[in-house]
Amino acid sequence: MNMAASAGAGRLVRLAEVDRVPLRFFLDGAERQALTGDTVLSAVLSVASALRRSEFGPEARAGFCLMGACQDCWIWQENGPRLRACSTPLAEGMRLLSGAPGDWP
């Protein structure tokens, strides 16, 4: 079953390895499902079209190099620290944000 196609909003299309164990995470407070072995980037882009907005322009950001070189894929967590989404494996229950936490200036 193609999760991304059924979700509709995702940018990422799963073409193989779809029989992995499901993992649960939260994006902007909403519970979402991904698969064990997903990076944070894969998990978020399987349900959304971007990771965050650009800090310097009107456009959204969804990663660029996927190998830790461009740093385009940083994403916020509810508890503060940011993650490089392309090189961080998704963990059960991760709580991610597409914008800065409320107390960020």
Partner: protein, 460 residues
């Protein structure tokens, strides 16, 4: 190093070059430390999916499956018995006083070394296209990584554009995996591609494989293309506007775009390690200088695409050569490398053929509209960059200070080459070499302040 202690040799990077370097050092009686950003050794071209994925090596690596498996097994076996000390998911961010500053999930620490082998690989070389700042535009390498390491396509309807071997390879891989590729737009004309043919014939099998792949793209592959613009809405790309070889305007609808003009070497650590650089006319980029074995500076050796872009097979050879040179310099038994040196020379001829066949479209940079974003990190446009020339005299480090290209979080990795062409064009130079080279700065990856504070507190 005190008497009786083994010299500490650190290898940075666990791709084909790093793995073969480590293996050669082990054969010479050493226990190298290998520091790599990946979860599992293999590098980018032979990147492995996480544990638990089930596609076969043939599915993942095609005709190169046997080479990939051999490299992975070599590394895993040596690491399992403790002959290699492997630091995975670790980034070297600085080099000072014979020590490497390493960041991992736990924070920062300093790793001392007696000799250093840098096998840091390469990344997509990118020319800005108006609209490339939008979400859903990726490097070709990124699209290949998504497919290989995650079994995924980064869009439902993809346009691939640029030039180089990866353009054709990725298109075929995506189609084979069930992805949809709407167009493959090669900025190299067929005439240019034929011009590189004498060099390409240095590796006839490799060249033939490329031609066979091209046949599978009949109907969607276009040579001699000019890219005008990536049209986007707030979600991302909706079409690529381009002109065909006859100059006719074309529009290909899509929801994702892959861009790449072959590769650029990752050289930031070589810079921090004190290596000299020279502008390479073939590759149109600054590359570190090294001798035929890879010796680049006192105690520093370079191997793989971070030194010369020869691809995976060349990287394996270069890794062995660098380690052999290191062993020799340490007065240890080193293998005879004459045959490898001859093979590497042949790979060099092939690589020059590739560079001639799929050229970097330097002249495009000078013609980019002023509103084109050049620095994707901070949205600096070509027009803003051109304005710095009036104040800075056309030099890339001045352009960085004044216009911020190269100051963003990728530290110029994805804009530096195009920015140098634009600065050179505005200053009236004949060539980007006259605009100079961006100086490397530590940390070469963004480091959280907490790691640096911790480091200061522990006297690092």
């Amino acid at each position: 190093m005190s008497a009786g202690e083994k010299p500490r040799v650190v290898v940075v990077g666990a791709g084909p070059a790093g793995i073969r370097a480590a293996e050669t050092l082990v054969a010479g009686g050493l226990t190298p430390v290998v520091i790599d950003e990946g979860e599992r050794a293999g590098g980018q071209i032979y990147r492995r999916p996480p544990q638990g994925f089930t596609r076969s090596p043939e599915t993942l690596y095609g005709s190169e499956a046997a080479k990939a498996v051999a490299l992975h097994q070599t590394f895993d076996t040596l690491a399992a018995v403790g002959r290699i000390v492997h630091h995975a998911r670790s980034s070297v961010v600085a080099i000072a006083d014979g020590r490497l500053q390493v960041l991992d999930g736990a924070g920062s620490r300093w790793v001392p070394y007696d000799r250093l082998i840098l096998a840091t690989g390469a990344m997509d070389r990118v020319m800005p296209v108006p609209g490339w700042e939008n979400a859903g535009v990726y490097g070709l390498g990124a699209m290949q990584i998504a497919l290989k390491a995650q079994g995924a396509a980064l869009g439902r309807c993809i346009v691939l554009a640029g030039s180089g071997p990866l353009l054709t390879l990725l298109a075929v891989q995506l189609l084979k995996a069930g992805g949809q590729v709407a167009a493959v737009l090669d900025t190299a004309s067929m005439r240019q591609q034929l011009r590189g043919f004498s060099g390409l014939s240095a590796r006839p099998l490799f060249a033939l494989r490329g031609l066979m792949m091209r046949r599978r793209l009949a109907g969607i592959y276009h040579a001699g293309v000019r890219l005008d613009r990536i049209e986007a809405d707030e979600r991302g790309p909706v079409a690529v506007l381009w002109r065909d070889e006859a100059g006719r305007s074309q529009r290909t609808p899509c929801d994702a775009v892959g861009l790449g003009w072959h590769l650029r070497a990752e050289t930031r650590l070589a810079d921090l390690a004190g290596c000299d650089f020279a502008y390479d006319e073939t590759w149109r980029q600054w590359l570190p200088k090294a001798d035929a074995m890879g010796w680049a500076a006192s105690g520093v050796y370079l191997a793989g695409d971070g030194l010369r872009i020869l691809g995976a097979d060349g990287a394996e050879i270069a890794g062995r050569l660098a380690a052999a040179a290191c062993l020799q310099d340490l007065g240890l038994q080193a293998p005879d490398m004459a045959a490898d040196r001859r093979r590497l020379a042949r790979f060099g001829r092939f690589a020059r053929g590739v560079a001639a066949a799929f050229p970097w479209p330097a002249e495009t940079a000078a013609g980019l509209p002023d509103e084109t974003v050049v620095c994707r990190c901070e949205g600096v446009t070509a027009g803003e960059l051109r304005k710095t020339v009036d104040f800075g005299g056309g030099e890339v480090n001045r352009a960085k200070s004044l216009g911020r290209t190269g100051m963003g979080r990728c530290q110029g990795r994805y804009c530096e080459l195009a920015a140098a062409e634009i600065v050179a064009g505005s200053a009236g130079y004949a060539d980007a070499v006259a605009a100079g080279r961006l100086r490397g700065q530590a940390p070469v990856r963004p480091a959280p302040i907490s790691a640096l504070i911790q480091d200061a507190a522990t006297g690092g």
